[in-house]
Amino acid sequence: MTITMYGVAALAVLISMALSMIRAFVGPTVFDRILAVNVSGTLTVVLISVYGFLDGRPDFLDIGLLYALINFIGTIAVTKYVKFQDLGHPMEGPDEGDV
């Protein structure tokens, strides 16, 4: 069994995801959990891409790109919901209705 560069990358990404999941479980505030889940989702993009190369099917990069888009929108939406308890807050001042 030879060690490939894809195997090294996948192992490192899995270790990083496990470490950030520790923070998502023990995090004292909700912002720690959002941060950990965001990092874990961004690492999933790399895991999908690496798996595509490992399997010889680089078409998986399309799924990775889509996952990056959804991860960003989801993190912004959860952050805004935690901040305002609402997703459609009206703009009343310079700091209202903002991300």
Partner: protein, 147 residues
């Protein structure tokens, strides 16, 4: 045709495997160190530093390393798209999260004046007094616009 160019097979690059190993091992190192920072650093604002480490150094290095192994140009273009997207969204997410944390009442730590008053550090004798520009407790007036 232009799109045929994207699907033409790339010839073997010299030193491509060595460059891939270099980028992927460096990226893996920084990804694990950044994730360790997320676990071990003391508060949310310093944990964001670890998250930025994972995004910037770890993920970008690994994706750059994958670029050298591409068969066709379309793979390079897709990897570059993911790179550009992460380059712009990672600071945006960190900014939104830091603002939400300040708004949500997370204490970002003592200021210089409080540390001087508590005799933790000496007075740095700054020439200019630093005024806080953002106070979430004070509700600011909306500025009238000319439109």
């Amino acid at each position: 045709m232009m799109f045929d160019l994207l699907h033409t097979p790339l010839g073997p690059l010299p030193l491509a495997d060595w460059l891939s190993w270099l980028f992927i091992v460096t990226g893996s190192f920084f990804a694990i160190v950044g994730a360790l920072g997320i676990v071990r650093l003391p508060d949310i604002f310093s944990r964001m530093h670890g998250a930025g480490m994972v995004d910037t150094m770890g993920i970008m290095m690994i994706l750059t390393g994958l670029m050298f192994q591409a068969d066709t140009w379309i793979v390079v273009v897709k990897l570059a798209l993911i790179l550009v997207f992460i380059f712009f969204t990672s600071p945006t997410t960190t900014f939104a999260l830091a603002r939400a944390a300040i708004h949500g009442g997370v204490n970002p730590g003592p200021t210089v004046e409080e540390l001087v008053e508590a005799k933790v550090i000496e007075d740095p004798q700054l020439d200019t007094k630093i005024e806080p520009t953002f106070d979430p407790k004070v509700k600011q007036e909306a500025k009238p616009s000319n439109t």
